[in-house]
Symmetry: C5
Subunit: 89 residues, 5 copies
């Protein structure tokens, strides 16, 4: 999973049917020491994350396994709000 | 999901059977501030996007989850037309 | 999907059982204006593409959804032979 | 699979329901000769790996195939603790 | 699929249960002309490849489709031993 910080919101009225009601956030990927890396992308949030939260994001089709009934076409999902990261080296 | 703008169309008469009738568009990936990043690629559209629209694109095999019956071999799907992106940082 | 041109063939007698009978081609990825990008890779072809054809290629596990019965371990599939690409910007 | 060394731990109280009870570690990817490459990321561990262990990590949605009943939304899984790597060239 | 040459072996006694008995090899990715590209990675082999063999490797979750009963958490599989590659351009 990637580490990142939520930096914004996306609004999209017209979208694929399966996606109505989902919340879309912009995430800036980061290193464990909070240095930004790579480009921001959009992730779905179902756990109440908001701008400023540090999050773990699952990318790729693993993100689509969020319904027991059927997979949906999303490729990034916020799976946790990070309390702390401890690096030992 | 990636942010991008639709910049063109692709025509392909001969194709895999499952894909007949689908619309293929060329998408230029972008940052939230509309600066282009990386290379353009082809995405399937089912929600009526057209050249000039700013879109959210799901890439990878999550894009193939668009039929309840069976997955199809596509790796990029336009899932929403973006109304606005709000960055707060 | 990626845009590319077929530039060669691969022969492999010894292979995974599910793959016997499939045709393997070498594809050079390209921009819409035909400039080559990134490295060539191997893709399966089932639609009769040959050297010199411009093609759309699905990569990742979406490529493995080609049998109704069961997925097979391939990660790149030629899904269409491109007639034309129209870029408007 | 990628080669890497476990360099830290992640704590996240609030997370997707399917993920409660899983252990999240920070992994630094490496070459076979232990030179670090690319950026550290978070992986799930179920085999008892700890900081300092050299591990094999499966990334992408293959990591989500860890329950016989249903896939879960994770994209990196430690699948083995490496005893030794022998390079011959 | 990627082209590569097998350059080594990996031993890992402690691993995920589904993976016991599988053979893990180190593969150096290459261009069709055998120039090395990118970093070596670990792939599962079930077809008898060994050090020095030139191989086709499926990466990503497509590699996990190797059991009819259930997918396993691996992200790279040697699917063929290459006899020859013919580039025409």
């Amino acid at each position: 999973m990637q580490i990142g910080t939520v930096i914004g919101n996306v609004w999209a009225t017209r979208k694929e049917d399966h996606l109505i009601g989902l919340k879309f956030l912009v995430v800036q990927p980061e290193l464990p020491d909070k240095a930004p890396i790579n480009n921001p992308f959009i992730a779905v949030d179902r756990i109440g994350a908001g701008v400023g939260d540090r999050v773990m994001v699952t990318t790729g089709s693993a993100a689509s396994h969020i319904n027991p009934e059927s997979d949906i076409p999303i490729d990034a999902l916020i799976i946790g709000i990070i309390d702390s990261i401890e690096i030992e080296r």
